[in-house]
Each structure stands twice: as C-alpha cells, then as structure tokens.
Symmetry: C2
Subunit: 445 residues, 2 copies
Amino acid sequence: MQTYVLNGKNKYWSLYKKLRGDILEGRLKNGERLPSKRALAESLNVSVITVQSAYDQLLAEGYAYSKERSGYFVSDVNVEFYGKRDVPPADVRQEKKFALDFVKGTASSLFPFSTWAKLMRTVLSDCGEHLLERVPCDGDAELKNAVSSYLYRARGIDADPRCVVIGAGAEYLYGVIVQLLGRDKLFAVENPGYGKISKTYNLNGAKCVYIPVTDAGVDCRAVEESGADVLHFSPSHQFPTGAVTPASSRARLIGWADSVDGYVVEDDYDSEFRLSGKPLQSMFSLCPDRVIYMNTFSKSLAPSMRMGYMVLPPALYEKYLRLFSHSANVVPLFEQKTLAKMLDGGYFERHINRLKNYYRTVRQAVLDKARQLCVRDIKDTGSGLHLLVSFDGASDKILKEQAAQRGINLKCLSDYLLSPMDGTEGWAVINYAGATPEGVAAVKV
Amino acid sequence: MQTYVLNGKNKYWSLYKKLRGDILEGRLKNGERLPSKRALAESLNVSVITVQSAYDQLLAEGYAYSKERSGYFVSDVNVEFYGKRDVPPADVRQEKKFALDFVKGTASSLFPFSTWAKLMRTVLSDCGEHLLERVPCDGDAELKNAVSSYLYRARGIDADPRCVVIGAGAEYLYGVIVQLLGRDKLFAVENPGYGKISKTYNLNGAKCVYIPVTDAGVDCRAVEESGADVLHFSPSHQFPTGAVTPASSRARLIGWADSVDGYVVEDDYDSEFRLSGKPLQSMFSLCPDRVIYMNTFSKSLAPSMRMGYMVLPPALYEKYLRLFSHSANVVPLFEQKTLAKMLDGGYFERHINRLKNYYRTVRQAVLDKARQLCVRDIKDTGSGLHLLVSFDGASDKILKEQAAQRGINLKCLSDYLLSPMDGTEGWAVINYAGATPEGVAAVKV
C-alpha cells in the first residue's frame, strides 16, 4: 500500500499529485491496479471522498482508467515524454559566468528589497480588489503623476503628467513608437550604438539608417542628409562612446526635426547615474513638441521590473489615445502602484543616491586599475556607468585576449558598430554596471 | 510659523513635501521668506539638518531660492500649472455605467483575492531577491511548466512546456505573432468577429482579410480562396456568433494550412467556460505543427492581469528564440510565480468551477428572461459566456431602443461586422460575463 504524506488543506489535490508523480516516474506501472478507495483512505487516514476525488482527477486526465466492478488501473502513459520534459529553471539555462563582467549586469545586491516588499504589502492591503481593475492604456494615474513629479525633481523636466505613458520596458515602448509614428518612417539610430534599438525597430517593421557618433556627439549633417523622419539617440551620454551632444547640435537637431515634421526620441537610459557635476538639460525641455522623452527602471531598479515610460508631445499623446484607448496597459497595476509609492515616498531617490555612491567607488577602482595597467587614454565624462580605455599598441584582438586570460567579459567599441566606421579600433568599453570594486581591484596587472 | 506633522522615518522628505504643497497651493506665496532653519527646527522639534535637507531639495527643484545672509524665499512657481494638473484616478475617467451590461465586464467579485494575496506573500518570502532576476524571453520555467500541465488536465492538450510562451495578454501576443510570421503575411480573421484582433494585426503592420462565419462555423472555402497565410479563429466557440467549427472543417483547414505552408491561430479565449457537456477537442491537438494555440487569463482571473500564453509549433518556437532571445519577458516575475502557484496548487481550477457554477445561474436567468420577453429564437451552444437572441419583428434599431429604455448596454450581431454580410439583422448578442442573476431578473418585461 502506498504511503503518502498529504500536505495542506487540499488533500485530494495533494494525493492526486503524489499518484500522478508515481505514475510519471514509473513507480506505478502501466496496467497496475490502484488500491481500492476504501483501503487507501484508511491507510492514509483520509475520507473515501478525498480518494475518490483524486482518482476522478487521474481519470479525467487519462492517467488512470476504471473497469466496472474491478477498480482503477494505471493507463499507458508515455513516461519518457511526460516525466522528463519539464523546462529547467532559468539559472540552469544561464550562460557562462565571468570573474568580472564589463558587458552586462547590475548592482542587484543593492536593490532595496525590504522596502520594495514592504511597499508591495502596503499596496496589497491598501488597494485590495481595486488591483483587479483594468488599467487605461497609458498607465495608472498615480504612477503617471509620480513619474511627472520625479522628472521635475530629478531632471528638471516639466512633463505634463497626462502625456506620460507607462510601458513594459524600453523595447516595448520602441514598438509603441513605431505603431504611433508609422512603420513607413525611417528611423535614424546611432553608430556605434546599442544594437537592440535598431533590432527592435526592425522587428516592428520600420527601417533604420545609421548615424555616426564621434566625441562631438551625433553627426548633425549625417542626420540632415539621411532622409530620416525620426532620430533615436541619447544626447546626454551615448552608449558606448560616452559622447555628449553639445547644445549647438541639439538646437540644430530640433530645427531638423521641425523641417522634416519629424521627431527626436531622447533615450535618457542612464541619466540617473551622472556621478560628477550637474545633470545636463534634457532635449525634451528644449522643445516638448518635437521630442519623445524615454527612460526605464531596468538599470536603476532591476532588469526583471519591466517598467519604463515615455513623455509624448501633446499632439502625439492625443494620437496615442486614438490608436490605443481600446487596449489595457500591459504593466500589472500592482507593480505600478508599488513604483508610484517608491517614487512619491522618496525611496527611489535614496536608492539612486546609494547606487551613485557605490558606483563612484567602482569607477575609481576602474580608473586606478587602468593606471596600474599603463592605460594610454581614457574617455570618461563622469556620467553613466561606462567609460572607454585604450592601451599603447593594443588592438581589439589583443585587448580581448588579455581580458579572456583574466576571466573578464569584455567588448570593444567596434563590437557595437552597426555599419563600418573608421577610428574605433583599440578601445575597450568598460561597462561597470555589474562590477564590484573588489572584483576590479583583483584584476592581475 | 508653519506647523507640520511629519510622518515616517524620513522626516526631511515629509517636511519637503509639506512645504512644496504649501507653495503649490499658494499658502506660501512668491517672494515670501521661509522661516529660518533654526526656528523651524525648534518649532517642529526636528534637527537643523532635517530642515536644511528639506530646503536643499526645494532649492534644487526651483521651488525656493536663497539670498546670501538673508535666508530662503519662495520662487515664482506657476501654481496654476503645477498645482492642478495631476491626472485624476481612472475611476473618474471611466465611461458610463449601465444598469445591466451585455457588452463587457467580468465577475471580478468572485476573484479569489485572499488566495491570490496569500500566494503573492508566499512568493515574496520564498523567492526574495530572485524576483529581481531577468526573465528569459519566453517566460519563467515554473509558469511554462504549470501552463503545460494545466492544459493537459483541463483541455487534454499535450503541449511541450518548452514551446509555451508567456506574454502580457492576448493583444501583446498578436503582435509577437506578426513579428514571428512576418508582416508580409495575410491574416484571415472571422466576420463578424472581435474587432480588436484585426485592429491589433493592422497596428502591427499586417493586412487582414475577412472570412464569413455562419452557424456552421468558419467558411472553409472562403479561407481557401482568400490568399491568406494565417487563419486566426476560435473553432470551439466563436465570438459573437457562438458557432462551433465541426470536425470535418477542422481537418480541411489543417489541410489548407499545410498546402499554403501557413498557420492556424487557435484563439481559445473562453474554453474554460463550457457550461454544459464535455470540452471540445482543440485544433492544436489535431496538428501541433500547424496550429498556434492561444489563451489568456483576462476572462478567467481579472482584466488587470495582463497574462496570456501561446503554445508554438516546435519549428516556430525555435524561430521565436532566434528572434527574441535578446529580450527579457515583459511580464513581471512576481506575477508569473504567483500564477504558477495558483495553477499548480489547484486553486485556479477551483476558481473556474466556482465561476462556472455562477455563470450557469446567470445563463439560466438570461434564458428565463428571454422566454418571459417572448423570444423568437435563441442561439446557444452552452459554451462560453454569450448567446444570441432574436424577437419577432425586432430590428437592430428596435432591439437597441428597447435595451436603452431598460438601462441595458447592448450590441447586435451586426455591430461586430468587419465587412458587410447578409442575415445578421435582428440578433442581440447577450454577453453575460459581467451580468448578475439579480440584474438579469430585474429587467422589466
């Protein structure tokens, strides 16, 4: 007779799962008779009804069959197929780990998890069943207001809260932009640049053209001659070059957008992490009618929080409502309310301040180590979480070999090229978002 | 001197918010001198550093300015603009309420909120900081496995858990399908039908062609002659006609998909709600290589839970990974883990059983009321949450006038036409997903 420990209130379900497990793992075999309901009930000290319910479930799902007046029998289940094919959890599927990763990662150990969990519990008890309500396409009003206030406090951006659109991360919002502006539009993206941007525009059916970025920022003349309708760029701190687009270019690009009746997407992906000096003025503040401001919480909170937002020019926001008001927002209300409380309570800014202090030490460790390694040149604007280094006579190939020997995951500037460009050889991109001061200090000279 | 009650641990933030509120609401006026730090600290029984921090924040955000040796003053803030433009919460923005709504709504009062909240708390304490991890593009393994097991239990569908893709609701998944199959593909959708489907395909850049649906299900010949590459339909219970596509047509449509090297999207949106008889076999089970199975939890759990899933044919799943493996899944891990527990623990099925019992009483109330109103004909397959009724001599216009007089939100079959079609006049679509037995019984005869 089988002996099972049945947990929880739901005994029949627990029994059903144990029996199913035994069938799938071959302990109960094809054609084997299951114990009588009464006998099993007695041996497990449960009611016959509990056993009956478990057997009914097995029958309904084809794990067992019944023969009149002789009882229940195990079906011929393809054990090989059913038993072994569960998807392993993500950590098993994960890629190679490095001693030091200068390509990806975040300081997730600094995430204020207890605050977040506390706010979640507060939202759960405060909002209760309101959390089940359909969220308007542009997001929950409380979060829209909180983002607008935050932008004003942290970034000096005067964003009408009505025009804030909440979405499930940056890539999701790129897709919305294509639907909003039309996939017949030509999108200008930075080269070298963050490959996901053009990839996502392409997946959404829009074509991209590549604009060179130099130390002087994005090449305005190339934008003007590109035939593009939309420029997607990061004027405050470009990835990976670190270039800052100067005020004169910004004004010129706004003029360009006006002249082609187009738009600028200001991807402000790491503006929270200006580690020295004052924040740079946003493009959006220059001309809220031509600029779509965009940011996410992936870098500042956690990659699993698929939350980002954009601020649309008022005319575009109206078009957005016309196109999408039939849809519900894709971010769960629960997360939206929790983030709103995090922003409104000042917790987010305190978290950012802690992160900035931490990243200052990581950056210093990187600069110290670069000096020890006799770096030739460093490009670092003191903003964001990456900088560039070059070494005398070191090609990309040598840089990567040296990194690999030290267990470092590294990419070079040229790895981010979307179309060929001169003058990118010999620069290592040190993205220290996922690095620790100790990890950097431990690199062998 | 201002008196403020400062809450929480973060006193400076609390003080800053009170002061900002006073400035924005005009209680502190342009040019007015703020109290000295020392004086305010004493009056509020806080430290001078607390007041200093609050003043610094006001300065940083431009709500106040300082004059050397004379203190802090209120800036000229556009009170009208800043103070009053917060977006009102969604319930203020909501549309008209009806005495009885036969167009939209769900039985959200039956949602097992306490179970859901309990599972959320369990996930929060069990998973902890793992909740911050990036989720693979196709979703969390635990939920993928849980969906696969559920489909087998509830629907007899043998879905490889690897090929399950989790997404933020049905519309989101329609967009993924377009990106996966290509927007050069022609999508055949049902007419009359659920307008959001073609709208979403169009927004994603794909063209649609309309296929007539009669009581005998989708018109196979029209599909074959349409030139379409993909057929999106609901073979088990079409909305709004309620038609069931018979076995012979299903086999023919699989043959069609094979012959054009195309796919069938089986939108099984309400299969949980078969109120009488046995569940119908899915198209997916007939031919898992040509059918994309799709369903969501919007109807069965709550519209605010943007969670749906699809099961892809293995070859398409591999293409999906090639296209999307750079992306993270857009559904928060927290919700995915909670839903997995809900499915694995049997809570979901118990909830569905409760819902079905409830909806049987609603359906019976609808049928009783229809008889009282001397209905001429009823089309009802006992599945899903809607049926059709017609009355002698009642045109669509009369049906709607009669409904409006009774405070009922009602649409007719012809309202769901996407292109003109004969024989649809005079049928009211009774979608009782959001109705109550009492509400239906109260309708005046």
